[in-house]
């Protein structure tokens, strides 16, 4: 069992579908981030989910989905400055990574076109 159940948590939705839980987070968070299934939070909980997996920030509270095979999906909220900071850092890394990729693609596409003289020589 994950340590999450030992933490001080609030439940906002219980025994619902993953889709409804995701929509709740998207509608009720000040900031929404999307992570891959398997994203780790609170030391030993690996997020279970159907991509895109939404995680929300509301004040000091982290909103996330918690899935149990026999009970469905729950939306939980736990106060954690540390996890919120980690989530924002994770997002910043993703944006930086995609910007690098975009820069690389731009550099490749902006290489000078072959000159007529070079082609003619061939």
């Amino acid at each position: 069992m994950s340590c999450i159940e030992q933490l001080k948590y609030r439940l906002y939705l219980e025994r619902t579908s993953f889709k409804e839980a995701r929509e709740y987070i998207e509608k009720n968070s000040e900031e929404v981030y999307y992570v891959d299934p398997g994203y780790r939070i609170f030391k030993d909980y690996y997020i279970i989910g159907i991509p895109p997996v939404a995680m929300g920030v509301r004040g000091k509270e982290l909103l996330f989905t918690y899935v149990k095979p026999c009970h469905g999906t729950f939306v939980m909220g736990i106060d954690s400055d540390e996890e919120i900071a980690r989530l924002r850092e994770n997002e910043a890394r993703k944006v930086k990574g995609s910007l690098k990729k975009a820069d690389k693609a731009k550099a490749e596409s902006s290489s000078p076109p072959a000159s007529f003289a070079e082609i003619y020589r061939k």
Binding site: S17, F18, G38, Y46, I48, P69, H71
Partner: protein, 149 residues
């Protein structure tokens, strides 16, 4: 031919009877074909399996579901094939997770009363084995027997 290759069977909630029956059947079948088989689940299905197979004749390796996910995410271990059993939204969600974290060839084994609708809603990479089966394992067994590994 399959010697040394690893198979993971992921059990969902055990409330639909055919699951345990099919897990034991498939684990035995894979083992006989040379696969190294691990069955993962939460406490409830693992207890059912241990009582049904007290001498570990059919299933030699059992693992906690959360720990299995942690090991795959942390790249401590992965499998060649994975059969994820599911009959509910939560089961589908676990299937999607395995599809995302593991490099295994994934089979989504969908059963229960709503198997067809659930099977249609799977939009992650997985080979679907779908049968409307709750008490009678026959339809699911027939489909599993047709899987070429």
């Amino acid at each position: 031919m399959n010697q040394g290759k690893s198979a993971l069977l992921v059990m969902g909630c055990p409330e639909v009877p055919v699951q345990i029956s099919m897990v034991i059947y498939l684990a035995h079948k894979l083992k006989k074909a040379g696969w190294d088989v691990t069955v993962a689940g939460t406490n409830a299905p693992v207890k059912l399996l241990k009582v049904a197979d007290p001498e570990s004749y059919y299933v030699q390796k059992m693992a906690d579901l959360d720990q299995t996910i942690a090991d795959i995410v942390e790249k401590k271990y992965d499998y060649d094939i994975c059969f994820a059993f599911m009959h509910s939204d939560a089961g589908m969600t676990y299937g999607a997770t395995f599809s995302a974290i593991s490099h295994a060839r994934l089979f989504a084994v969908v059963f229960g009363k709503n198997a067809e609708a659930l099977g249609e809603s799977i939009d992650y990479p997985a080979e679907k084995i779908v049968a409307v089966a709750t008490h009678n394992p026959g339809p699911l067994k027939n489909k599993i027997d047709k899987v070429a590994l």
